[in-house]
Symmetry: C2
């Protein structure tokens, strides 16, 4: 937590980031629409004015929170592009990176996955998600063209099943140790690339 040493939860002393953390918790718990700036102020033990000192509106909190998740996911694609391996190797890097983003930014990604496009901020976030999905689908197409990914699956269906599996982690994952996240990423790679069946 980034608030000053010696301050307590429910006391003044939250900076912008720690206010955002509390807001995202509340959005995930009650829903974005049902959470007012008044609710957040009560939860922070501060005034509405203290929140408006840092954020112009509730929507700015949402925008920053969604950006936190999306920038991290887009960063995973950036890592992939820098890599020189096969498309299949780069796909594995993206899958592993996405699992780590999910685990490290769990509340932000949870919020992102619930967005339905009810405002410009939400539609912009959905557009960025769509671009991410398109880039992964493109990578699946390249891996298929190089002969490393099976050709009997439509790359866009494969992408949806793959990220359906990855995104579902937000529904049940309880943060434990960093080793635990690495293990989970290994498990996802194992199922996604080689399946559940014992290789014959």
């Amino acid at each position: 937590m980034a608030h000053q040493p010696g301050t307590k939860r429910g006391r003044p002393g939250y900076d912008q980031h720690s206010m955002l953390v509390v807001a995202v918790e509340a959005f995930n718990e009650f829903g974005y629409d049902a959470t007012s700036i008044g609710t957040l102020a009560a939860r922070l033990g501060t005034s509405k004015a203290a929140i408006y000192h840092h954020f112009s509106s509730k929507e700015e909190l949402l925008e920053l929170a969604l950006d936190e998740a999306l920038t991290a996911l887009e960063g995973v694609l950036g890592d992939e592009q820098a890599d020189e391996g096969t498309a299949s190797d780069r796909l594995a890097l993206v899958v592993r990176g996405a699992v780590h983003v999910l685990v490290n930014k769990l509340p932000y990604v949870t919020l992102l996955l619930r967005v339905r496009g009810n405002s410009d901020v939400e539609r912009n976030a959905l557009e960025r998600r769509k671009n991410f999905d398109r880039a992964v689908t493109q990578l699946l197409s390249e891996a298929r063209a190089e002969g490393s990914i099976r050709s009997d699956l439509d790359p866009s269906v494969a992408e949806r099943l793959l990220f359906g599996m990855i995104n579902s982690i937000v529904e049940w994952y309880k943060p434990k140790s960093p080793e635990d996240a690495a293990r989970l990423a290994d498990d996802v790679i194992a199922v996604a690339f080689d399946g559940l069946r014992v290789p014959r």
Copy 2:
């Protein structure tokens, strides 16, 4: 649709089942909490009394809708138990059956997957889902014991990843033909059992 021939949407003539269909649509669109019996009456073009003629409360509509999804899913396990094959074959039957339930009962399963346990009806539905997940985890353990499913994955993690992938279908699937559902089930089986990678 089960309403009488010659009646139109927005006119009296809805029977219990077709009222339920419209209610589930509305719950998925607006959220269960945000949908009142008044909203449903307006959407049906009927009176609140006409709805109360068929259902004692909004919660009864929710209960019947969740039961529709759960009974279908539990039926898939029933089919599996009747089968005589290996645990791995029975697992494949359950996966295929679950994809068909998802596609055939899409609005009901969508509603089920959004339940968070806010009432006795919701908690009961979550308990039935948990029993379903336990039965599939058990099947994965049996398949692992018979040597057909890889032993480096915890069966409960494997179950969550597998059903994460299957359940995510509600997010993007647009109902087309029955052949399309069968193809989707094939794709899920392909990814889940053999993975994306070209077998070596």
